[in-house]
């Protein structure tokens, strides 16, 4: 596990351009998810924001996490969401149709204020250590060494979900 580079500030042009364009894509797509009328279009914008987040991981040199983000989010979870949307009876309904508009606005405002306060009040440190160069090896060793119990519990949860899915759709 090597550490590459000592300076981690985003100083060069490439990093700045990459970060800001990816940030615009991600946040813009996320805004469009809640702004478009068609539910399927909302899901497609969600997929775009997933890919934007993967790009942001790459700017942080976390290559394994970025590829896994694409594999799981853009590859599998988006398929899950699309199937779920299409199998519900009223998939063609308007995204904006809800009778909980006022409570939704209140809740969104509260969450926004909380997050804004955290961002402004926290004392953010800059990382002093550079990025790893072999992240896959590091993650693998950590998963099987320090974090083996959460790893195994996650596997058991996934197994329970799969068995539950099969039981639900079995025709008896």
């Amino acid at each position: 596990m090597e550490v590459v580079g000592s300076s981690v500030a985003f100083e060069d042009v490439g990093s700045i351009v990459a970060f800001w364009s990816l940030a615009v894509v991600t946040v813009g797509a996320a805004l469009m998810v809640v702004a478009v009328r068609n539910l399927i279009h909302a899901v497609l914008f969600l997929i775009l924001s997933f890919i934007g987040v993967a790009g942001l991981y790459i700017t942080l040199s976390a290559d394994f996490v970025a590829i896994t983000q694409i594999l799981i989010y853009a590859g599998a979870i988006s398929v899950l969401i699309l199937f779920a949307v299409l199998l519900t009876p009223r998939a063609a309904r308007d995204n904006a149709e809800t009778f909980l508009q006022v409570p939704g606005l209140v809740l969104a405002a509260l969450v926004g204020v909380t997050i804004g306060a955290i961002v402004l009040v926290t004392d953010w440190n800059e990382a002093t250590r550079g990025p790893f160069s072999e992240t896959a090896v590091a993650i693998g060793e950590a998963l099987l060494d320090k974090y083996v119990l959460p790893f195994e519990i996650a596997s058991v949860i996934l197994l329970a979900a799969m068995v539950g899915a099969i039981v639900l759709v079995r025709e008896d």
């Binding site: 060069d12 490439g14 896959a136």
Partner: protein, 413 residues
């Protein structure tokens, strides 16, 4: 490996590009080499793929014609060689009809997006030591990730056609794709267990260093990967989306003209990608036991790639088509358990090797033979276990009778 790192060394075109980038880096701003290298790499990949497509569209039709005891196209140009050009002109000039109620943006975007994964996969495939666009540390995982994104444009195509049959076809297609991703990953894991790295050039280097090809060490994995790859690119025996006799007509029914041409293009590019991946990971990539010092590595690689693509063409001309539920049963009940058992044994072998620090020359032939025997035994045993040996599945002949009048229903043939 004696690679003279001079720009005129045609055996590794990466040298020429590297020299150009160095010159640019000295004489220009810092970010210019990155952009130029990305542009040069992308254009090369696209040009290579399009040329291969033009050639192989013709080759496939001639080869399938020969398999079917007929000639294949032979009118347009000598031996019909310009048939692909004629096909391309046909695709471009046909009217691209968009249904009135189709979702215009998604309908228009789906054929474009479906080509993207097939193109992007080539970024991590090494044509030679220096001829790789992005030598990622997680190259193998990148292949899997990009392959899994293919499901989304297919779904977009099916949904935006505003045709319930296209939607059903797209959902079936997506179910098939995600079912076959899991054995695909397991097959690739077998390679990574042996080579201890996910870098594509690293895997080729491991095969060169140990003087062996991973196909000998992992026969079951290469078989599983080949089958999963064929399914991912919708080739017969699994081209359910394009089958005429499947009435649910498939996700690209409503597409015509160049939009349909893009789907066809994506299928071929993905076919080249799968062949390239098998050539790199299992067949040693651009190395050929030392021959790469005289013959350019990329030529060796291309020969392997096209040779593997020939297998796809052969399968298309020969095999019938499976039903969708039989196909998914095959993935979940056969390929997934076999893949799991394969990586278990691969891990066991690597553990024995590393723990006891045995020399490679002694151990690897033993592993090769053991794995081959394991593959044959596993496939036979699994088929027996699933009941394939039962009389219901055995082929029979008709009974010959001379008298008339009786009924022999229900008896064993």
């Amino acid at each position: 490996m004696i690679f003279l790192a001079e720009w005129w060394d045609v055996r590794d075109l990466g040298n020429a590009v590297g020299a150009l980038l160095e010159w640019l880096g000295d004489h220009g701003p810092d970010w210019l080499p990155y952009i130029v290298s990305a542009v040069v790499g992308s254009i090369t990949i696209v040009v290579f793929l399009l040329t291969s497509l033009l050639v192989f569209a013709w080759v496939e039709r001639r080869l399938i014609g020969r398999i079917q005891a007929r000639m294949g196209p032979n009118r347009v140009g000598p031996w019909g060689a310009f048939q692909s050009v004629a096909d391309a002109i046909k695709f471009v000039t046909k009217e691209a009809i968009t249904s009135a109620n189709a979702d215009r943006w998604v309908f228009w975007l789906a054929p474009i997006l479906v080509v993207v994964p097939a193109l992007v996969v080539f970024a991590v495939i090494p044509f030679n030591e220096g001829m790789i666009l992005a030598d990622l540390n997680v190259g193998v995982l990148f292949l899997v990730a990009v392959g899994s994104v293919t499901a989304i444009p297919i779904f977009m195509a099916g949904w935006s056609s505003n045709n319930k049959f296209s939607l059903m076809g797209a959902m079936r297609e997506v179910a098939m794709l995600i079912s076959y991703e899991i054995p695909l990953v397991l097959a690739l894991l077998g390679v990574v267990i042996f080579t201890n790295t996910m870098r594509m050039n690293g895997i080729v280097g491991w095969q060169d260093e140990h003087n062996t090809w991973l196909v000998f060490l992992q026969p079951l994995a290469v078989l599983i990967y080949f089958i999963c790859g064929a399914v991912e690119i919708n080739r017969t025996p699994t081209d359910i989306a394009e089958a005429e006799s499947e009435i649910v007509a498939g996700y690209h029914t409503e597409y015509s003209g160049i939009k349909f041409g893009m789907f066809w293009l994506a299928e071929y590019f993905a076919g080249f990608a799968i062949a390239a991946i098998i050539a790199t990971l299992y067949l040693g990539g651009w190395t050929l036991w030392g021959l790469e010092e005289w013959v350019p590595g990329w030529m060796i690689f291309l020969v392997k790639l096209y040779g593997l693509f020939w297998f796809f063409i052969w399968m298309r001309g020969t095999l019938p088509r499976l039903r969708i539920d039989q196909l998914m049963a095959f993935a979940w009940k056969v390929l997934l358990p076999l893949g799991l058992i394969n990586i278990f044994f691969a891990g066991l072998e690597v553990l024995l090797w590393q723990e006891n620090d045995l020399p490679a020359e002694a151990v690897l032939p033993g592993f090769a033979i053991a794995n081959l025997v394991l593959a044959v035994v596993l496939i036979a045993a699994w088929a027996q276990l699933l009941g394939r040996g039962r009389p219901q599945y055995r082929p029979t002949r008709a009974r010959l009778v001379k008298e008339l009048g009786a009924v022999i229903y229900g008896e064993e043939a």
